[in-house]
């Protein structure tokens, strides 16, 4: 018997004996959803019937003709009442459902104004408005018919065009479309939840109970352990999703839902589509299973893993929700987006217009991501640092909560650990997002200047000072060597045009709205020397100091204990994410690229001054290109790529910079551990 199979059968046996898993796999899909749907619908219908069971009280203010009063009285849905208070107060107090305010009938004027008052936050008032509108429309039609008749005109005179619409979609297509809006997200969530608890239990739970140690002393290759566990988690995810899919379809198709039948929705799905959906769920479950397993094993307890995985769960939901938003097309590129591709494909399958090519792209890309996640999980299980808490780079363990390091004083020579540094940057980013935007809204460019210095630079210095970290070590305050500066100059000379190129390529997938482009151009363009100096201070000097202190200072200094590629990638991604806003998603890739390049240069030289110089040159170049007439020709069209001749030079310059910086001697470790780890 193969070792992985032995591990798998044991894990499966234990997992199905776990009440939490059973709850998620069987109870929720098979019982809870149908019951919730039916009960929810009944409550909804009950509420509707109750609302419609009596006539809505309506008050009429102004001189009302008897004809209108008769229409109200004969409607059956409205009941006339009088006001004992002001109309607004009566509406707010639910004393009336709607108030019809009739304007005076002015002699010689054909139109009489009528205002319908209602409370948009009250169901009763909304119904009152609907019914009152109906009566008022009927009154208007009566008056119109009388006028036409008086002039000897036919009823169609006032209706020169008769508009009618008719959907070409068949009922089952409409049903599929409706289902495609709800079910894909639900399926993804259920697959995810199905894998969530087993992954935590089989990885972090096993570590917490001490069984992993015992298991790994059996003659079983680590790969077999990972595969056994992973197949269990993925299988649970698939079964949970399949049970949900079946349960939901049965609930809809058996007609127990009255609303669906009332509105003529046919929500049956062809067997072929169901099979394809199920097949697509397999790589998705594999992806979730491997991802969660690889993440959960990094936690030392069930609870810790639960805390660590919950944000991942939330992040995964974002692409899963994309098909719910109007106007986002299912392009081949979208098919490559993890999770989003699957939900879009499910939507199309349910709507009956899925295409083979995009379907294959979704399957292939999801399978590829799943393999990547599996490698990630296997590496985690193969790392003694992950399994037994050692750290190849340094065994520091910060006792107590992360912020406890911030209140310690007098520990010169120390630097923050990665977690503390990341938390600091996250805190600063939140501060910058809320307070910074407020400052910028009220003070404009001065607000931007103030937010950079007050919300980035000052907090970074306070953080280092108050937590007792070493300034020099944390902020990489070293004088760079001549070669270091030369390498950095070449690097940024290559990286800046390439960032431009990246931004340009990105426009093929993510078009930049014209008004944003215009706004950005306006921001960086100076018409006078004074304005140019101001822009250079605002957009080049300030970020080169303030942002560098945060990102290449605290963040890089705190994460230096990680593997170099992780330090650099993390730095770039966080830097890119920091520059994200609702309007400037387009800046993410170019900024992340620059962040990566600058972080690597600072890591190699050990000097933040190099980072500041690169940042200054990059931003300064953009301002100068936009403002100096002689250079403006280069960017006559902001949406165009960089001039072709620039690119080979940029690549050569980048290569030269990389060569020089790579040849620099290793920077001595200025870091000292916060604490010592204990071995028992």
């Amino acid at each position: 018997m193969s070792p992985w199979w032995i591990v798998f059968t044991k894990e499966l046996r234990e997992t199905v004996r776990d009440r939490r898993t059973l709850l998620m796999m069987v109870v929720v899909p098979v019982l809870l959803y149908p019951v919730l749907l039916v009960v929810g619908e009944q409550i909804l219908l009950f509420g509707q019937r109750r609302l419609e069971s009596y006539a809505a009280p309506v008050a009429i203010v102004g001189e009302a003709p008897t004809e209108l009063l008769a229409l109200v009285d004969s409607s059956g849905t409205l009941r006339r009442t009088t006001l004992s208070q002001k109309p607004e107060e009566a509406l707010r107090a639910d004393a009336v459902a709607a108030v019809v305010v009739l304007g005076p009938q002015v002699e010689g004027e054909d139109t009489r104004s009528v205002t319908l008052l209602y409370d948009a936050t009250s169901d009763q008032s909304l119904r009152g408005r609907r019914e009152a509108s109906r009566v008022l429309d009927a009154w208007r039609d009566t008056l119109l018919a009388r006028r036409l008749e008086a002039r000897g005109l036919s009823g169609s005179f006032a209706r020169p065009v008769a508009v009618a619409d008719s959907s070409v979609a068949r009922p089952e297509e409409v049903g599929g479309y409706t289902l495609g809006r709800i079910l894909p997200l639900l399926l993804v969530v259920i697959t995810l939840l199905g894998a969530f608890y087993p992954a935590i239990d089989l990885a972090a739970g096993e570590k917490e109970r001490g069984t992993l140690e015992t298991l790994l002393t059996a003659p079983v290759p680590p790969g077999a352990v990972v595969i056994g566990k992973f197949v269990t988690v993925a299988l649970i995810g698939i079964v949970a999703a399949a049970l949900n899919l079946g349960s939901m379809l049965l609930t809809f198709q058996t007609g127990v839902l009255q609303i669906a039948s009332q509105v003529g929705l046919d929500v049956s799905l062809p067997v072929g589509s169901v099979v394809v959906i199920f097949l697509t769920l397999i790589p998705l479950a594999v992806l979730f299973g491997a991802l969660f397993l690889g993440l959960a094993v990094r936690s030392s307890s069930f609870k810790e893993a639960q805390n660590a995985l919950t944000p991942v769960y939330m992040v995964v939901l974002i692409p899963a929700m994309l098909p719910l938003f109007p106007g986002i097309a299912f392009t081949p590129l979208m098919a490559l987006v993890p999770v989003a591709g699957v939900t879009f494909f499910f939507r199309d399958l349910m709507g009956g217009d899925a295409r083979l090519f995009t379907g294959l792209l979704v399957l292939a890309s999801t399978a590829l991501y799943a393999v990547g996640a599996l490698i990630f999980a296997a590496r985690a299980f193969g790392s003694e640092a992950v399994l037994f808490g050692g750290d190849e780079e340094g065994a520091e363990v910060t006792p107590g909560p992360w912020w406890s390091a911030m209140v310690r004083r007098g520990r010169a020579g120390r630097v923050p650990d990665p977690r503390t540094a990341v938390f600091f940057v996250a805190g600063v980013a939140v501060l910058f997002f809320w307070l910074g935007i407020t400052l910028q809204v009220h003070l404009g460019e001065r607000g931007l200047l103030a937010s950079e210095w007050l919300l980035l630079f000052v907090p970074a210095l306070l953080f280092v000072r108050l937590a007792g970290f070493d300034f020099r070590g944390t902020l990489s305050l070293r004088r760079p060597s001549g070669s270091g500066v030369l390498g950095a100059l070449l690097l940024v000379a290559g990286a800046t045009p390439l960032a431009w190129g990246i931004g340009w390529v990105q426009t093929f997938f993510l078009p930049i709205p014209w008004e944003i482009l215009e706004g950005l151009e306006k921001l960086v363009t100076a018409e006078t020397p004074g304005r140019l100096a101001w822009l250079l201070l605002l957009l080049a000097v300030t970020p080169a100091v303030c942002e560098e202190v945060v990102f290449r200072g605290v963040l890089l200094g705190g994460t230096r204990s990680l593997a170099p590629w992780r330090v650099v990638l993390l730095n770039g991604l966080v830097f890119g994410a920091f520059h994200l806003s609702f309007e400037t998603a387009i800046r993410f890739l170019p900024t992340a690229w620059l962040g990566i390049v600058i972080a690597w240069a600072v890591l190699k030289t050990g000097s933040i001054w190099v980072g500041s110089l690169m940042h200054l040159l990059n931003n300064g170049t953009i301002v100068l290109l936009a403002s100096v007439p002689a250079l403006q020709a280069l960017i006559s069209d902001s949406n165009a790529p960089p001039p072709l001749w620039v690119m080979p030079l940029a690549v050569m310059s980048l290569y030269g910079g990389v060569r020089i910086l790579a040849s620099l001697p290793e920077v001595g470790d200025v870091r000292q551990p916060l604490t010592s780890s204990e071995d028992s």
């Binding site: 018997m1 070792p3 032995i6 591990v7 044991k10 046996r13 234990e14 004996r17 776990d18 109970r209 001490g210 069984t211 992993l212 140690e213 015992t214 298991l215 790994l216 002393t217 059996a218 003659p219 079983v220 290759p221 003694e384 399994l387 037994f388 050692g390 750290d391 190849e392 780079e393 340094g394 065994a395 520091e396 204990s561 551990p673 010592s676 780890s677 204990e678 071995d679 028992s680």
Partner: protein
């Protein structure tokens, strides 16, 4: 035979075990003594192939822990203080599971499991989930699990930690019996009575270094102490166990 040859284990700047050289022969029980953080668990984990040495070698009957980890695992039983039992497997299922992982199957495995069930008096709770067993019962299942493949080497990391006297005695009897069967036993402990009762030889670790080894009597002679507790204190001084950076 267990052989540590110049074993060093570093975690970055921290050295948990430094240049440890120690042997445990068949039919011999060796105790590893040391304060918290002295490196006992790290040394045992290197032996159990859970950690890779930074320098030096660890071998079990000639099999190298780094080059032939699966072979080493076939020759050892590792018993941690946590016992490492699966909560939702019955006692019998658990022992059978580890038997399968060791390549056993069919009637031979069933016979072996039955024998262990009898040997450790597991019969009356054999079909109860491990999560519902008492500490003493768990301890017995854990021993049966470790012995299912009848390895020549036993590694026990603080085996009596948190156990009452009766359960502790079960462990002591177990170690004595396995020694009599010619097994090489290496265990870590803080209990001096346990060392006195069981150990043929003792290795004392301090800040990752083996500061003394010999029979209990030899340790008394080296230190001039009248009992093992005093001898231990004399050897480790006021060490709090933090390793040298």
């Amino acid at each position: 035979m267990i052989r540590f040859q110049g074993l060093t284990k570093r975690y970055g700047r921290l050295t948990a075990v430094r240049d440890l050289t120690l042997e445990v022969r068949p039919g011999e029980v060796v105790a590893l003594l040391g304060p918290n953080g002295a490196g006992k668990t790290t040394a045992l984990r290197c032996l159990a192939t859970l950690l890779a040495p930074s320098a030096g070698t660890v071998t079990v009957f000639g099999a190298d822990a780094v080059r032939e980890p699966l072979e080493v695992r076939r020759r050892i039983a590792f018993l941690a203080a946590s016992m490492g039992l699966y909560e939702r497997l019955s006692a019998r299922e658990l022992v059978t599971y580890f038997g399968r992982l060791h390549g056993m199957e069919g009637p031979a495995l069933e016979e072996r499991v039955d024998a262990l069930v009898d040997l450790f008096g597991i019969g009356e709770f054999r079909d109860r989930w491990c999560g519902r067993l008492s500490t003493g019962q768990r301890q017995r299942v854990s021993l049966a699990r470790a012995l299912v493949h009848d390895p020549p080497v036993l590694i026990l990391d603080e085996p009596t930690l948190g156990l009452d006297v009766l359960s502790g005695r079960t462990i002591h009897d177990f170690i004595s019996r396995e020694r009599a069967r010619g097994k090489a036993v290496l265990f870590s402990t803080h209990q001096m009575e346990e060392v006195d009762l069981l150990a043929d030889r003792v290795g004392v670790l301090r800040r990752g270094e083996l500061v003394a080894q010999g029979t209990p009597q030899e340790l008394l002679e080296i230190t001039g102490a009248t009992n093992l507790v005093r001898a231990f204190l004399a050897l480790v001084g006021d060490s709090e166990g933090g390793e040298a950076a």
